[in-house]
């Protein structure tokens, strides 16, 4: 695939302009502009219902935008050509419980146009499921199923990754390995957008996007966001940007989002 790491300063890989998605009265995504550069890991952080999943689905073209536009690798979404070059790990497991680990993986690999047995083996090793190749997915533990889901996303080695809470239910040791792998992928030029509300993962990202009520309320590196909010941890920084104190109570004359 596109193995060459693009030099910084080239055009962004994922672009959103004025994305809006309304579900009836709810504006799940409320005018978001984005430009994600190649070779970087972006963290999408926000509370439940803030619109993270909806934003990712809009970027991929899985749901029709009420307004605005998303482009991946220069193509407006949804585009089948672009879809062949992304990996999407949905928030839910999204694997076939009755199929074995190997069958699930082979199926999604084929749809993505990656069929080399090599690729399957590598990704199975990464998620440490090589010994479970013939186990039906129903017989896996919850965390193993998440790992299989991640494997299905990575198997075709796409240049753009959208991971919706990829490490939920994954044990700490493996979580560290996953992040090490994400880092390697980024170093090789992959653009990664990771949705999460685990703030300790946030510090592993190159850049963070705080979302709240469908809006990006702050954006920058972890350090710069902490500095702007005048806090020592990201949790408090997020609350400050949301106009709340550390107990979650509204602050009068709160620091507005930048």
């Amino acid at each position: 695939m596109d193995g060459v790491a693009p030099t910084p300063g080239t055009s962004p890989v994922v672009v959103a302009t004025g994305l809006v998605k309304s579900f009836g009265p709810i504006r799940a995504v409320d005018g978001i502009d984005l430009a994600l550069a190649a070779g970087r890991i972006y963290g999408l952080l926000g509370p439940n219902g803030s619109g993270k999943t909806t934003l990712i689905r809009l970027l991929i073209g899985l749901t029709r935008a009420s307004g605005g536009e998303a482009r991946i690798l220069g193509t407006p979404m949804p585009s089948r050509t672009a879809l062949g070059r992304i990996g999407y790990m949905p928030q839910s497991e999204s694997i076939y419980p009755e199929l074995s680990v190997g069958e699930n993986l082979a199926f999604f690999a084929t749809l993505q146009g990656a069929q080399s047995a090599d690729a399957l083996d590598r990704v199975l090793d990464l998620v440490e499921l090589a010994e479970r190749r013939n186990t039906p997915a129903t017989h896996l533990s919850g965390g193993m199923r998440r790992r299989l889901s991640l494997a299905c996303t990575l198997v075709h080695e796409p240049p753009v990754l959208f991971l919706d809470e990829p490490t939920v239910g994954v044990d700490p040791a493996l979580r560290v390995q996953f992040w090490a792998h994400f880092r390697r992928l980024a170093a090789a030029g992959t653009t990664i957008l990771v949705a999460s509300h685990v703030m300790d993962e946030a510090d592993r990202c190159d850049e963070l996007l705080f979302v709240r009520s469908g809006k990006v309320i702050a954006q920058g590196t972890g350090a710069s966001l902490r500095a702007q909010a005048g806090t020592t941890d990201l949790e408090s920084a997020f609350l400050r940007f949301s106009g709340l104190d550390d107990e979650g109570r509204p602050i009068d004359g709160a620091k507005g989002p930048t």
């Binding site: 949804p78 089948r80 999407y88 949905p90 497991e93 199929l99 084929t110 993505q112």
Partner: protein, 390 residues
């Protein structure tokens, strides 16, 4: 459209089914068991013996009456075993009691000596089982008319005509199983394929795999065709098994204490099994896509099951399986004519019972309608598989 991706979808359906032994059993074994059960019921519960209670006026039904009836009974075709019990009472009430208590199946009150007018024979049944009773009545009618003829001096072999029944298709002793079994080939395929696709696709939607599918370059045509191929393979296996069971008969000769027995129903077939397969597959492809389409409107497996009374049962009642369409009330007949199953039923009977082939205009119509219906359902199904799902 990419063949690799289409086949991948089909293979994943089959891989899932291979592990789901219960679903496989449901599709492959249940139809045979149900058909066997039906065969057993139909062939095993033909009226084999009637117990007749007899009353004659002016005292007891005498030996002469009974004698005539017995003699006539021996001549009734169909091997119905008639036993006759003479009532001793002087009126019909005793007969009514007998019938009510189940001591006899039918009570027959012979007419008294009468001048002028036609004599009336009173027939008493329990009235609780119309199907069996009408069978018994038919046998009895032949019997009584012969017996009466004999009793009144017109001998059974003289003026009363006897009937010889001849049929154009099948044989005169074909039973309702011969008429029903061919249709079952289509009905089961339709039913099970619909249920299984509906549930599989619902799981795709609810389980998030459809979301993941749609984030790949797969097209909806590839999904729909892949599903069609996967379930058609299943339907083909089902049809082959069931056809072999319905049409074939392997006799197993007597071995020691086990008497001779056979596998298969041995329904006589006149037509080409390939056309049978074509009819059933077209129906199944329609069912696959109907399942995909309707899965949009279900939130759980249970809600797929709720479609059975809407989609499956009315078609079963109206499609001519049990009652010919021509005899339905006009409104129902009009509805029946737009149901795909109607055409499958007609086609299957045409091929299997009447030996029609592709040259027959009815078969052409059936195939054309089934193709058109399948095409419509394919379009409906595709429309519900959207990248831009809300």
């Amino acid at each position: 459209m990419s063949g690799t991706r289409t086949l991948a979808v089909a293979r994943r359906i089959l891989a899932g089914l291979r592990r789901d032994h219960r679903a496989l059993g449901l599709v492959l074994v249940a139809p045979i068991v149900i058909t066997l059960l039906l065969a057993w019921v139909i062939r095993g519960s033909e009226v084999a013996s009637i117990n007749v209670g007899l009353y004659a006026p002016n005292g007891q039904a005498d030996q002469v009456h009974v004698g005539f009836l017995r003699a006539a009974a021996a001549e009734v075709p169909g091997g119905v075993d008639v036993t006759i019990e003479a009532a001793t009472a002087n009126d019909l009430d005793e007969l009514r009691t007998w019938v009510g208590e189940g001591r006899v199946d039918v009570g027959v009150g012979l007419p008294g000596v009468q001048f002028g007018g036609a004599p009336t024979v009173t027939v008493i049944t329990a009235g609780t089982d119309p199907a069996t009773e009408s069978g018994a009545l038919a046998a009895l009618q032949a019997l009584v008319s012969r017996a009466l003829g004999a009793a009144t001096g017109v001998g059974p072999n003289t003026n009363i005509p006897t009937f010889r029944h001849e049929t154009v298709f099948l044989s005169a002793d074909a039973d309702s199983l011969d008429i029903l079994a061919p249709v079952f080939l289509g009905y089961f395929a339709y039913f099970f394929v619909f249920i299984l696709t509906g549930i599989s696709f619902l799981r795709e939607r609810v389980g998030g795999t459809l979301e993941r599918l749609l984030a790949t370059p797969v097209t909806r045509a590839e999904i729909v065709v892949g599903y069609g191929i996967g379930f058609s393979v299943l339907a083909t296996v089902q049809v082959i098994l069931l056809t072999a069971f319905v049409l074939g008969r392997i006799a197993v000769p007597e071995i020691g204490p086990i008497g001779e027995w056979g596998i298969g129903l041995g329904v006589a077939s006149a037509g080409s099994p390939l056309i049978v397969l074509a009819l059933v597959l077209l129906l199944a492809i329609g069912a696959v896509n109907l399942g995909i389409f309707l899965s949009t409107f279900a939130r759980s497996e249970f809600q797929i099951i709720q479609f059975i009374p809407i989609v499956i049962i009315p078609q079963g009642l109206l499609a001519g399986i049990f009652w010919p369409i021509d005899r339905l009330p006009e409104i129902l007949a009009a509805i029946a004519r737009v149901l795909p199953l109607t055409y499958a039923v007609d086609g299957l009977r045409g091929v299997i019972l009447r030996g029609e082939d592709l040259a027959a205009s009815t078969i052409q119509l059936d195939l054309a309608v089934l193709t058109a219906v399948a095409a419509v359902f394919v379009v409906l199904a595709s429309v519900t598989i959207k990248r831009e799902v809300a």
